[in-house]
């Protein structure tokens, strides 16, 4: 009966040639406020490698997205 908060949700992200997001859910990215990487559980069979971006969208909304570097795919997450 319990569930995790801020669980990642698959997101539709358009990315540029450098792998940086240029649009989230078809909304253009106005700027990138921050970028960081997370590596964890590399000592297990299910390692976790993510490249995070904090975006400012054209509408003014801030969003945090990451690319899963192990399984692929983009996700949006409330930080």
């Amino acid at each position: 009966m319990s569930r995790r908060l801020a669980a990642p949700r698959p997101a539709k992200v358009r990315q540029g040639p450098d792998g940086v997001p240029s649009a989230l859910q078809d909304e253009p990215v106005e700027g990138i406020r921050e970028e960081w990487a997370v590596e964890d559980r590399w000592w297990t069979g299910r390692p976790l490698r993510r490249r995070y971006f904090e975006l400012v969208l054209a509408g003014g909304r801030n969003a945090v997205v990451f690319r899963d570097l192990v399984r692929g795919g983009w996700f949006e997450q409330r930080s």
């Binding site: 009966m1 319990s2 569930r3 995790r4 908060l5 801020a6 669980a7 990642p8 997370v38 964890d40 976790l48 945090v64 997450q77 409330r78 930080s79």
Partner: protein, 399 residues
């Protein structure tokens, strides 16, 4: 020995008051406002037309077009019956009474006070109650009731059935007498269809067969027909704490609400309350056009908070079906002390937690187990957001 005190048609007689002569004519108690349209107690003259208690008004009036409908007086009935029970208790009796007009008392403990036998107790009861009462005595409640039904009020003697005679006394009586027990209302009709017409015929049936066909009600009926019954459960004499307000003019709506606020304030200020909260209160009103109304309200939580009590009672007082010329409020049951002082309690956190717990319980009742959750921090410093916190069930007072 159990003594039965019986006043036939008590509610009708009480509602008629000084118009008792109407009892000789076809008359019936009208249904209370807002209730199902069924006839209440009926006079003997109405019975002669085939009108019985519980019959639909339309059918009753078609059977007896001159039937007089008497406005019910639940408050008057309660007061009058309370006086009678008080008189019985004044002779030292512990009295059981589930409905107005019928009361039971155990004579065994009183015999030493009144001549050493049941006749002495019966004489004391008759002296306390005066004329018009029917008395019966038998080893069980059911048999005592049957005996009182056969007694005649104009004769001073009561019918006394002793232990050895009880089965023989009950045997020829109709199974319809079982209707005196609310849980056996439908049984006599089925027994009658099966050809079992007297209590003696019922008592002669094997208990296993009765249990198989009728279950627990059948076994209870078998016990009653055999002269056995459950022990008496005497009432606890009430503490009369009542406030009444005569309304200067026919009041309704907002005027009634103001009157109610005043009554609540007065009731809470009564010394007899001794700091206790109120668990149940009865509201009653007398209508301008005659008749009374009474409704008992049990508070969800015992309280002595005037605002909260007013809120609950206002919803009921607005259901009054007609303008009233008096309004009364009576304590039916007190609750424990202390609940009243929520606003004064120093430990505000404790009070808030208790309220929150109650709110959570109600939310879960309405919307399921996941209606109230709380955020539980698991690893707030984690770089991975989904590991920082989870939603878990809120643990209130109900766990």
């Amino acid at each position: 020995m159990v003594i039965c005190v019986l006043y036939p048609r008590f509610e009708l007689v009480a509602a008629l008051g000084d118009r008792g002569t109407l009892l000789a004519a076809p008359a019936a108690l009208a249904p209370e406002a807002g209730r199902e349209q069924l006839a209440g107690e009926v006079s003997a003259a109405a019975e002669a037309f085939g009108v019985v208690r519980g019959m639909r008004l339309g059918e009753a009036l078609s059977r007896c077009p001159e039937l007089r409908l008497v406005p019910p007086d639940p408050q008057g009935v309660r007061e009058l019956w309370g006086t009678i029970l008080d008189r019985l208790e004044a002779i030292g009796a512990a009295v059981e009474s589930d409905r107005a007009g019928v009361a039971f008392l155990d004579a065994d403990g009183l015999q030493g006070l009144y001549g050493g036998d049941v006749q002495g107790v019966l004489a004391a009861a008759r002296r306390a109650l005066g004329r018009g009462v029917r008395l019966g005595a038998a080893p069980s409640r059911f048999a005592a009731h049957a005996a009182a039904l056969r007694a005649r009020p104009r004769r001073t003697g009561a019918i006394v059935v002793d232990e050895r005679e009880v089965r023989r006394f009950l045997a020829p009586l109709p199974v319809a007498l079982l209707r005196s027990r609310p849980e056996l209302q439908s049984l006599p009709e089925i027994l009658d269809q099966l050809g079992v017409r007297t209590l003696g015929e019922l008592a002669g049936l094997p208990s296993r067969a009765v249990a198989e066909r009728f279950g627990h009600p059948g076994l209870l009926a078998l016990d009653l027909a055999g002269g056995r019954d459950t022990p008496l459960d005497p009432r606890r004499p009430p503490e009369p704490v009542m406030e009444k307000l005569e309304l200067p003019e026919a009041a309704s709506g907002q005027q009634l609400e103001r009157a109610l606020e005043l009554l609540v304030a007065r009731l809470l200020a009564r010394r007899e309350r001794r700091g206790r909260s109120l668990r149940a209160v009865a509201m009653s009103a007398r209508f301008v056009a005659g008749g009374t109304w009474r409704a008992t309200v049990t508070l969800r939580r015992p309280s002595a908070d005037a605002g909260g009590i007013n809120l609950v009672l206002k919803s009921r007082v607005t259901q009054l079906p007609a303008p009233a010329d008096s309004l009364a409020l009576e304590v039916e049951a007190f609750g424990p002390p202390g609940h009243v002082q929520e606003a004064l309690v120093e430990e505000r956190g404790e009070v808030r937690r208790a309220r929150l717990g109650e709110a959570v319980r109600q939310a879960r009742q309405a919307a399921g187990a996941e209606a109230a959750m709380r955020v539980l921090e698991m690893d707030p410093e984690s770089r991975i957001p989904e590991r920082r916190a989870v939603l878990s069930p809120f643990l209130g007072d109900d766990g």
